[in-house]
Symmetry: C2
Subunit: 388 residues, 2 copies
Amino acid sequence: MGTVEELLKINEELRNKLEELTKKNHAARSKIDEMSSQVVDSNPYSRLMALKKMGIVKNYEQIRTYCVAVVGVGGVGSVAAEMLTRCGIGKLLLFDYDKVELANMNRLFFQPHQSGLSKVEAAAETLRNINPDVNITTFNYNITTVDNFENFQSALLTQGLSGGPVDLVLSCVDNFEARLTINTVCNESDLNWFESGVAENAISGHIQFIEPGRTACFACVPPLIVASNIDEKTLKRDGVCAASLPTTMAIVAGFLVQNALKYLLKFGDVANYLGYSALNDFFPTMSLKPNKNCDDNFCRKRQEEKLGKVEEKVRQEIEEEGPVHEDNEWGISLVDESVIDEKETTIAASGIAFAYTVPTEGQKETQGTSGTSKEVSLEELMAQMKAI
Amino acid sequence: MGTVEELLKINEELRNKLEELTKKNHAARSKIDEMSSQVVDSNPYSRLMALKKMGIVKNYEQIRTYCVAVVGVGGVGSVAAEMLTRCGIGKLLLFDYDKVELANMNRLFFQPHQSGLSKVEAAAETLRNINPDVNITTFNYNITTVDNFENFQSALLTQGLSGGPVDLVLSCVDNFEARLTINTVCNESDLNWFESGVAENAISGHIQFIEPGRTACFACVPPLIVASNIDEKTLKRDGVCAASLPTTMAIVAGFLVQNALKYLLKFGDVANYLGYSALNDFFPTMSLKPNKNCDDNFCRKRQEEKLGKVEEKVRQEIEEEGPVHEDNEWGISLVDESVIDEKETTIAASGIAFAYTVPTEGQKETQGTSGTSKEVSLEELMAQMKAI
């Protein structure tokens, strides 16, 4: 025990150190009311707003009006959430029920000191420090349980920025069941979403855009791993210690968020399916049409609704303006409409393998479609793959 | 001023808070002597070592024997350094002379509280926390000044893990001068390197592998931006506030480190040139041969040396074993050898634009070559681009 003077000195030293560390652990910037294009070192948005000057995005500020749900905050989801946060997205919903482990340190984002913390809570803290302008809400539960199905659906439908539905859902989960849950909710609630996945051998991955009724849903056809040299043994199985690489995960997260930005901010072409095979730098792309015999009732319902809307829109446009121009609201042309009308699913080609095993009867039906139906763009796919 | 007892109580509270924050700011794990394949939550290497079980990498532990130099720790370099750190690379050299600014927050890695710190120091602290097993050395200077040229060259030649040269150099710089400096040093010292770049409109990028004398160096032909819809106005210029996106930067960093891993750990095919165009998800790849009239003396010298070695190797193999098989040490076949013999450079095709302006006479010569020489694989390029 020392004198009062000695203690006061120690006290002051401790206070100073504490202040220093506290500063380190909290956002070094306050909230910013409006995104500015001003080119100064202190503006975190200058290089995003420059996308307007470059002629890429018309109204970048609009990103603040969107809410995106990230389901699964692992190797892909955490990086996707960080990208959206740094881009200044309006609101993020984070879903996961896992904890951070040292075994996750071979991917970007989480740090060793966060081991043991809930992934959503640890992610939210980091993301709020990175950009305090983003509204982040966390949901620490398993979406695949019966009880949580409704909670999950309700969150997606009411937690958007104006109390309505979210603007987009990003699936970054690592199992079939969770993907099917997201698919069911998005079909029923007519929400657009991106599915993503990385193979358990760490060297391939994909993203897929799903617009219920207009593109193939997850039940129409299981997502595909398209690659020349990948055999079934390399696909994701339960109970196996999957390999993973920070490179593949970040590339898939990059494709996911880049296409999400193109979708939300309306620039470029949103990929329907984009694959990545690391060994030979091979990037298959394709369009997948919905399956008219899809097991999911709501998928079939959306197909009928949207086919009706498309037909009406096309009829109106022809009456009013002559032939459909390329940039109509539905992004379709007369040729596309006839293709949609066929409602056939394209699911098989040489070198393409299923990424997941579809359980029960769904599998038989889907595979049956593949074997017997008219494969609309099979030749297209084959040509594309041969060319690479 | 309070009593001794009061002060002691405050003192203890301050100590507790300080301990908590200190824990948060330091590595939550100690060093690990040997990489283990054990599948437990506490093993940060389990999912990397699983690459062996998956049949992708023969000897993953070898990553600890390599030293990689990352030149430029910005939007691409910082993420590349983090990926290599999480993969457990043996040693990293970080070169930059810039400071962290809030204007960098639209890319991954740096956080607002690091504003004002030197990029290499801030990066090294974060990376050491992420993986204390990696040996990280920082170089806080501009490599393009006359004085630092020798420092830079000496670091690359003596800072490898056994006191010799580094195993690979990753160029993540944002200007022509720095790329040319790296090129000069790597040609003179016969070091293999990857060049990388992102366009100032943020929506395209590329990586290029350069093996002095065997592939085109940076002076043989300026790196190309290959894209269907990009015009010259979108290319990097001085004094313009470049746009950037965390997505494009992370994708390019992912391609860079993925190909670096393939090169170091000997799996898959290392891309010679891999481009990325975000608007249409277009990924051009190509091979670029060295230019026998290259301005760089050391490039021409390496060409002569290696051409000699290739010829001798091929002659020996034919004598000993008959025709050259595909997996010979040099990765070449008889056909390749004849192509190398021509030593012509492929540099022009429709839709391909130069990413940088080559200054002075170098430019004229190179462009002249493009216009008048036999363009070895032009048709191949054209076919590849048309197919996409």
